[in-house]
């Protein structure tokens, strides 16, 4: 076993071994490495500071508040926002729709037969025949007598 005073002498700091070690070359990091480390130590912005675990303020509450504010503003704009000026004809109006139902409801059988007779007299026999066919299908039991 080694004598204990070897280490004690060395730990006092003035041993020949320490002197010899301190006479050796003392390499230091190259300047480029210095620059790189010092650059790392200075985060360029708040995001880098956060990534490095720095003391930059947390932006999450601010982002949340901004989101809430925008949402409320959007709802208010939709509900109470400016609207188009009302025109006088914007009031509800009754829409008149032309009746396009069967002609049997638009005309009486007698009037319809009179129209057919008029078509016949005017020489529009084909139209008169067509109208008569439609009349018979609409009023199958109607006695047309001497109707043409």
């Amino acid at each position: 076993m080694y004598p204990p005073d070897d280490l004690d002498e060395y730990l006092r700091g003035d041993s020949a071994l320490s002197c010899q070690y301190r006479r050796e070359l003392a390499p230091t990091p190259p300047p480029a490495l210095d620059a790189r480390v010092l650059e790392l130590s200075r985060p360029p912005g708040p995001y880098a500071a956060r990534a490095a675990g720095g003391n930059a303020p947390c932006l999450a509450p601010l982002a949340f508040a901004a989101s809430v504010l925008l949402s409320v503003a959007l709802v208010l704009a939709i509900v109470f926002g400016p609207q188009r000026p009302k025109r006088s004809d914007d009031a509800p109006r009754v829409v008149r729709i032309a009746y396009s139902g069967d002609s049997k409801l638009a005309r009486s059988p007698r009037a319809w037969l009179a129209d057919i007779a008029a078509l016949r007299r005017a020489g529009h026999n084909r139209e008169a025949d067509e109208e008569l066919r439609r009349f018979r299908s609409a009023y199958p039991g109607y006695s047309i007598g001497d109707i043409p």
Partner: protein, 223 residues
């Protein structure tokens, strides 16, 4: 896991009298680190200037490869910068810094060992091994970069087992006590003491045989 020798205790002693008292008992480095933690970038520059030399030499003489030492050097400072917000000064700053360096160095040795195990396995599969594998940083070509450091003392230092070399470097470069070396290397005090004792004894014996120890005066404090 990072060292807690400087005690990462979030929120502890950040204000009030307790904080002031703790500040008064801190070493200057710890004060600088606290200032840097609180946003003073200039404090880091001062801290870096104090420790860059010892840390670089510790890494260089541990891994014996200038490129790897530079990478590790940057990694150590990057970890310190990244975790600065959790720093709490409870011990000497150097123990905090060199514990990070110790962890980085151990990771390096583990990666290096795995790398060469894989390389050896591949080579054996191809029946191409003609001589024993040695770590990259011990190959003659890589060693050439240390030619300027080829002194008898450094040669003897490099011949030491890694744990003994580390104990010696921690004491010489950063002035750590045996207790602090034990904390940095995560071993018992007696183990750290034994490692340093063996290192000193072997170096003295080696240098005595070469008759290079003389009574030359000390150099000024290095940085």
């Amino acid at each position: 896991m990072l060292y807690c020798g400087a005690q990462f205790v979030p929120g502890a002693l950040r204000a009030g009298n307790a904080y002031i008292q703790s500040m008064e008992s801190l070493d200057e480095d710890a004060r600088l680190m606290l200032r840097y933690r609180d946003g003073d970038a200039d404090a880091f520059s001062a801290l870096y200037a104090r420790h860059k030399g010892p840390l670089y030499r510790y890494l260089l003489r541990q891994v014996r490869n200038a490129g790897a030492a530079a990478d590790l050097f940057q990694e150590v400072w990057s970890r310190l910068i990244a975790t600065r917000s959790r720093y709490e000064a409870r011990a000497k700053f150097a123990t905090y810094l060199f514990h990070i360096a110790h962890n980085c160095t151990m990771d390096f040795f583990r990666r290096d060992l795995r790398l060469h195990q894989h390389a050896a396995s591949d080579a054996a599969h191809e029946h191409q091994i003609s001589e024993p594998e040695v770590p990259e940083y011990q190959r003659p070509d890589a060693m050439a970069e240390f030619a300027e450091q080829r002194s008898a003392l450094l040669a003897s230092l490099h011949a030491l087992p890694q744990e003994q070399r580390e104990a010696f470097l921690l004491h010489e470069e950063s002035g750590l006590t045996i207790e602090e070396i034990a904390r940095v290397t995560q071993v018992g005090v007696e183990t750290a003491k034994s490692r340093l004792r063996y290192a000193v004894r072997k170096l003295k014996k080696s240098l005595a045989s070469r008759e290079i120890i003389d009574a030359a005066p000390l150099r000024p404090q290095r940085v």
